[in-house]
């Protein structure tokens, strides 16, 4: 068990380290890289002595632009592991971390609720689809679900805004809460937050519950044919008992693995959803930073989205032994890793 935790923790840290290195490469070495861009911009403005340019670059990116490359790399990595992501290029003196710290809770709220809701709906619909494969419900649901899960989320967002917010005025067009409320633990504020979060959550859920439903359907269908299910049925156990304890629990296992994989997808999708709903989360900040060429903020957003996803993955990994105790025994783990995903799972990922 301890070996399992240590391994997961180590691989999470390595992933973060690699991503930080990758982002250093992008910030410093790629053609048209942000540091060179900022230097050129400052030089063009004129009237700034070279050493002051260096100081400004250092203040924004935390890297001495004319030092040796290895030193720049060490400075960059060291800063990030100390939680220093530099300053925003557009808002002098404002740290990237403080901007992101204000944005991240909104994203986690919307992504978290959406994940929970779509997971729940998907599991129920998928189980029903597999249990009554010849029913009219299953046929209609299969069609609807495969249709919805192949529609890009930004198109759903645009349609929702257009119909429900702009034409029918049922929901707010942007922002996370109404200006008329004061942030804090009071009822009007909480209601306002929920009210503003409904459309973004709906946009995520509409496109993603279908993937869960199809994956769950596949998983339940395989287990329906298993010997232990037949044994349970022939023992005379009621259908409810069989569905819950014999089919449901086992069919959930691959779902939990998918949970981890879909997190990255959801956080990625937040870029579109938050952009269109004017929702001040981290995806919105990322696009904002790209538009205004605020590269230090952009890299910070990217790094923190990645770190958030890595830790969420780690969390699911650590949760997994509770769901499937076999996982801590190496032999069982190998076996699981070697079963290839089905088409339904691929579509979802």
């Amino acid at each position: 068990m301890i070996a399992y935790i240590a391994k997961r923790l180590l691989s999470a840290l390595i992933t973060i380290y690699v991503v930080v290195t990758l982002s250093f490469y992008m910030v410093r070495l790629m053609p048209g890289n942000p540091i060179a861009f900022l230097e050129a911009e400052l030089e063009q403005q004129g009237g700034v002595p070279p050493d002051q340019i260096q100081q400004q670059v250092r203040a924004i990116f935390g890297v001495q632009p004319h030092g040796p490359l290895w030193l720049q790399y060490l400075q960059y990595v060291g800063n990030i592991f100390r939680g220093n992501f530099g300053n925003s290029a557009l808002n002098p003196g404002v740290s990237v971390l403080s901007i992101i710290a204000a944005a991240l809770p909104w994203t986690i709220l919307v992504v978290g609720v959406a994940l929970f809701v779509s997971f729940l709906i998907g599991i129920v619909v998928g189980t029903l689809m597999a249990s009554y494969p010849d029913s009219r419900f299953a046929k209609i649901a299969t069609g609807v679900v495969s249709l919805l899960s192949s529609i890009p989320n930004y198109l759903v967002a645009i349609v929702l805004i257009y119909v429900l917010a702009d034409q029918m005025h049922l929901f707010p067009v942007s922002a996370a809460y109404s200006n008329a409320t004061t942030p804090g633990v009071n009822l009007p504020f909480i209601l306002s937050v929920l009210y503003h979060a409904i459309l973004p959550i709906a946009a995520y859920t509409i496109v993603s519950f279908g993937g869960w439903a199809l994956a769950m359907k596949g998983s339940v269908t395989t287990i329906l044919g298993a010997d232990y299910v037949r044994a349970a049925e022939s023992k005379g156990l009621g259908p409810r008992r069989v569905t819950q304890s014999y089919i449901g629990r086992n069919a959930m296992l691959p779902m939990v693995t998918n949970l981890a994989l879909s997190l990255g997808y959801l956080f990625g999708g937040s870029v579109f959803i938050e952009f269109y709903f004017g929702y001040p989360g981290i995806g919105y900040r990322l696009i904002d930073a790209v538009d205004s060429r605020d590269y230090s903020l952009m890299m910070g957003c990217f790094l923190l989205i990645t770190i958030a996803v890595v830790f969420a993955n780690l969390f699911v990994d650590l949760l997994y032994p509770l769901v499937d105790p076999r996982i801590v025994s190496p032999a069982a783990r190998r076996q699981r890793a070697d079963t290839s995903p089905t088409l339904e799972e691929k579509v979802h990922a």
Partner: protein, 283 residues
């Protein structure tokens, strides 16, 4: 030949697969001949802006008086081009990495798989956005490479697990005893066996690439020049299409084009899945 007969039989018995395949074919034809039959002019005719549907303009006109249907047709090629190109890269890298690591095994396998896992964890879209905004290239090939940057990892893992199970098969043993070189082992022995799986993933990779590509144009991160569906939506939104009903057709036509293509690709992939996976056919 047998395969095509089978595919035809499955398509005939499954209407959604048939429609999916036909629609995909139609899009490919439009992408190939589109630029020859339709031209998007450069002159602006503000007097013709936001016309409703008519015989001359079946889908109306946009904010500078261009015919929306023409733009839609011309915009097909860039989208499909990048989608195909990116899917090719994804499949090539994914299959090579997957087969090599799965077949060779050992230290190389565990090292490469660690790297693959890292790419699996990194959220693809933010990375693509960051790279695209730094590079800022309008070349379709560069765009396709950027879109493939994390997408290969999932396929590589899946192909590897197939290669792992094939490795102990009798025919692989037989081939190994003959002393065939690695190139032949991978290319002639393993590859044909994962072919079907790869074909399906090729279609899915196209949908993934189109999703991200159009997204980049909609957000305005990829350079806005020329005509494609993402640029149409981007311009439509920037012209305030959300706040007026008169540009509804201009905004919703490219969206419909994307949805129809994506859904058809997935439905067609399902038909392929049934073709290659007899177990599913019995179900």
């Amino acid at each position: 030949m047998e395969l095509i007969k089978d595919l035809w039989r499955i398509c005939r018995s499954d209407r959604s697969a048939m429609i999916g395949g036909a629609v995909v074919l139609l899009y490919v034809i439009i992408a190939v001949i589109g630029p020859y039959v339709a031209h998007v002019g450069t002159q602006q005719n503000p007097g013709d802006a936001y016309l409703g549907p008519s015989l001359a303009h079946p889908l109306g006109t946009d904010f500078i008086g261009q015919d929306v249907l023409t733009e839609l047709i011309v915009g097909t090629r860039p989208v499909i081009e990048v989608g195909l190109c990116s899917a090719l890269i994804v499949v090539t890298v994914g299959v090579i990495v997957g087969l090599l690591t799965g077949y060779i095994g050992g230290l190389i396998d565990s090292l490469v798989m660690r790297v693959t896992d890292i790419f699996l964890t990194i959220p693809g879209l933010p990375l693509v956005i960051v790279i695209a905004s730094v590079i800022h290239s309008s070349s379709p090939f560069v765009l396709a490479v950027i879109l493939s940057v994390t997408a290969w990892a999932g396929l590589a893992r899946a192909v590897r697990s197939q290669a792992l199970s094939l490795r102990s098969a009798d025919f692989i043993d037989a081939a190994r005893v003959q002393g065939l070189p690695l190139r032949t082992m991978i290319g002639r022995q393993l590859l044909p066996n994962v072919g079907p799986y790869v074909a399906i993933n090729f279609l899915l990779a196209i949908t993934g690439a189109i999703y991200a590509e159009v997204g980049l144009f909609i957000l305005g991160i990829a350079p806005i020049s020329g005509t494609n569906w993402g640029i149409m939506i981007n311009l439509g939104m920037n012209q305030g299409a959300l706040y007026t009903t008169k540009s509804m057709l201009y905004l919703f036509s490219p969206m419909a084009a994307i949805v129809v293509l994506q859904v058809s690709l997935v439905f067609f992939a399902r038909a392929l899945d049934r073709l290659f996976n007899p177990r599913l056919r019995v179900q």
